[in-house]
């Protein structure tokens, strides 16, 4: 019997490498660094509205799962950067959320419809709310 040791090297193979690469490119974040500690999710103010926790969305990106784009999570994110401040590995989770949103928005998809806002709403809302909402949720 051969006494040579055999090395077994495991490469994680994401389901969709193209999708994962694109998210990494747009966000500039090294998603591989995430070890699923959950600090981001615990600090997130919007988790009760989300279908997947932020840490789960990062996991989905790591695995190349495009379902992340269908989640409600990415649309209720307020970009408050609580996740960025808490991440022990220095990942800006908000950047990853934005990258996922951009991938959908750039396909001519608007998440909020301006026409459905009434005149009273447009008059009463602070301008910064309308401007930032449209900035974040329209193509």
């Amino acid at each position: 019997m051969s006494s040579e040791k055999q090395e077994l090297v495991l490469h994680p193979s994401p389901l969709n490498q193209v999708f994962k690469d694109r998210v990494k490119e747009l966000s500039g974040e090294k998603v591989e660094l995430c070890f699923q500690c959950g600090a981001c999710s615990s600090g997130c103010p919007m988790t009760q509205e989300m279908d997947y926790l932020p840490s789960k969305v990062i996991r989905m990106v790591q695995l190349g799962l495009e379902e992340a784009l269908d989640s409600k999570t990415i649309w209720v994110c307020t970009t408050c950067f609580n996740c960025e401040v808490r991440c022990p590995r220095g990942i800006d989770v908000a950047n990853v959320m934005e990258a996922l949103r951009q991938l959908v928005l750039r396909k001519k998809y608007d998440r909020v419809n301006l026409d459905l806002l009434s005149d009273e709403q447009l008059r009463e809302l602070p301008q910064v709310a309308i401007i930032s909402c449209l900035r974040k949720l329209t193509a």
Partner: protein
């Protein structure tokens, strides 16, 4: 008193639905020897900051404003290549685009090409500052020296919100343990009430189409402040003021046991402490009305 002429970027909201912030800012800064000169030909900063790494277009609006600051400095109407912003969202957007311009030469080149019909080229050298930073640099003792009516007995909870402190490297103070609002409140004689949710997001732009969510978040934040003993909340962001202030009507609908609490801008409290009048504190414009509480405390 030697007046410094400093470029002032009010942002759209301060000129429209948050006039009390603009009025009280100019008045209280003037009392401190800072002449805030509104930036000529400023444009909407296009908040929020463009996070996608390939985005160039959304940097144009903030950077064009910084170009205007340089123009203003060159023409002599302001002393330095510095701009003071008050709205936390504008501050964050201007500062981050400035940082990106200086870090990403590719994007900077494209931006310069796009703005090639401007009179000058933006050098990247403008400093974006929040008024709180200006005050801290000047020294809290200077602020205290101008107080003629310390806000004795007023229990105020500082509400930072998100974009004033985050992300790291952009915020005006330590994101984990900020002190800047507390120091200001102490300098003007108010009693500081610390509470756990002072940095929790108010829901931001979700107030446009997901009012329920904002009502819940506001309820949690304000209830905690009240349980810690606060009578009033102070902020630096017009969106926070709206979500925690005007939106209280929505909070009450969902949480009938909710007790209202007034929320004002920090410059309004400063103006009050400096002994300035009704026209400068503009306290009549906030919703809910803070004046009954202040009258009760003998402060107006």
């Amino acid at each position: 008193m030697l007046m410094m002429n400093v470029a002032y970027y009010p942002g759209c909201t301060l000129k429209t639905t948050a006039k009390e912030f603009d009025i009280s800012t100019k008045a209280s800064a003037k009392a401190l020897g800072i002449n805030l000169v509104e930036l000529p030909r400023w444009n909407c900063c296009g908040t929020v900051h463009a996070l996608a790494k390939d985005d160039v277009m959304h940097h144009l609006a903030p950077l064009r404003n910084l170009l205007r600051v340089e123009e203003a400095q060159q023409s002599g109407i302001v002393d330095d290549k510095k701009v003071v912003a008050l709205c936390a969202m504008c501050y964050n957007t201007l500062k981050r685009s400035n940082q990106a311009y200086n870090a990403d030469s590719d994007m900077a080149g494209k931006v310069r090409e796009s703005m090639n019909n401007e009179a000058i080229v933006y050098s990247g050298q403008v400093e974006v500052e929040h008024l709180l930073e200006t005050l801290r640099t000047q020294g809290w003792d200077k602020v205290q020296a101008h107080v003629t009516k310390p806000l004795k007995g007023l229990k105020v909870a500082p509400y930072y919100g998100c974009l004033l402190l985050r992300p790291r490297g952009v915020g005006v103070d330590n994101a984990d343990n900020p002190r800047i609002f507390e120091d200001l409140l102490k300098a003007i004689g108010a009693e500081v009430v610390d509470f756990g949710y002072k940095q929790k997001c108010c829901g931001s732009y979700n107030t446009v189409h997901m009012v329920d969510v904002v009502a819940d978040l506001s309820n949690r934040i304000l209830k905690q402040a009240q349980e810690a003993g606060a009578e009033m909340v102070v902020t630096a962001c017009p969106l926070c003021e709206y979500n925690l202030g005007n939106r209280q009507t929505e909070v009450v609908k969902k949480h009938p046991k909710f007790n209202g609490i007034p929320i004002v801008y920090f410059t309004q409290l400063m103006a009050l402490a400096f002994g300035l009048g009704e026209d400068e504190t503009a306290l009549g414009l906030n919703k809910p009305d803070p004046r009954p509480l202040l009258r009760e405390k003998g402060l107006i």
